[in-house]
Amino acid sequence: MAWTRQDMARRAARELRDGFYVNLGIGIPTLVANFIPDGMKVTLQSENGMLGMGPFPYADEIDPDLINAGKQTITELPSSSYFSSADSFGMIRGGHIHLSILGAMQVAENGDLANWMIPGKMVKGMGGAMDLVAGVKKVVIIMDHNARDGSAKFLKKCSLPLTGVGVVDMVISDVGVFTIDDNGVTLTELAPDITVDEVRARTEADFSIAEGLT
């Protein structure tokens, strides 16, 4: 049984550590905030200029001057601070954020990431994604393991324009967890009832299997 979006977000939350400053991308990564363990202090950064992001507002708390990088209304916390976009990306580029969790269209076995453009089709822009993957200490990707048409997204080499080169440290997909480091890709966890053979069949990237994983 493959992991759901909630399962993937829950698994990603295990990468959080006490005292971490974290940037969560739009979509499934946003759900990770729901799984921060009790008693663990994690501060969420929003690249449009906020540290210490609170939950979504109640209907009577909505403030047009208070949004996250996904343009969603949010709230502040007693510990919050606001700053300019230049200061925000100074924080990001300068390596002050511990962890960024993002979505992906494609990941390559050397850690290359593509998540911003489909030539001739999508004209949206990279927003802050290139800055985040270049600057943040650890980059974790959450994605469906395969595209809707069944094709592999975890590849030997990305075919789409890149967001960053060699930037991905971990991939969490619906079939399991992979680390990417100097030893290449390693499958470290499997979703329930998913077999290594199934993962191999659905993955183009080469990967080794962590010790003890059946």
Binding site: P64, Q72, F89, D131, A134, P161
Partner: protein, 234 residues
Amino acid sequence: MSKTYTDAAAALEGILFDGMTIMAGGFGLCGIPENLIAALRDSATRDITAISNNAGVDDFGLGLLLQSRQIKKMISSYVGENKEFERQFLAKELELEFNPQGTLAERIRAGGAGIPGFYTKTGVGTLIAEGKEHKDFSGETYIMETGLVADVALVKAWKGDREGNLVYRKTARNFNPMMATAGKITVAEVEELVEVGALDPDHIHTPGIFVQRIIQSKDLEKRIEQRTIREKGE
């Protein structure tokens, strides 16, 4: 020499010309200079190069200037919310230069601070790096990005005084402070035009030296793009 003008049209008088470069503050529809954008649309200034993180939505923000075909080129990081933008771009009626958001913010900050170029690792190995100078520092590769300035910068603040001192509110700050420094002429609109001395000198985000003209905003809509709430009890 007063910096205060009666309204947006008056504040833009004599400083607009066809082919000019404009910066407009805001992130999405948050913290955008609504009055000034509307006055720029009414001015019918053409062939504008617009530097702004986003392009508004179809009927609001910079989207208004796209509808009226006043924009020749956009320099932005993300324009996903604007259908008219996509149409004009795919029809090659509009030039587009994508910058990573942090690179865009830093280029504007650099432009205002007299720094013509700087190095960043953002975008190394991507389309963004093509044609740019590469240089290694401590064994890592970086690309050079250049400073950006504008003929006129349009910014939106929460409070401001007649000296041009500005204070922003919450995430409506975003690109406004850097753009205020990077305009040859900077025009600010504020929700509340206060007396000189009403702003604490330690809390001023944009010192008045950067602002040449200032107006009190009127009839702000302050639209919300993604109204996301939780229910009581959650």
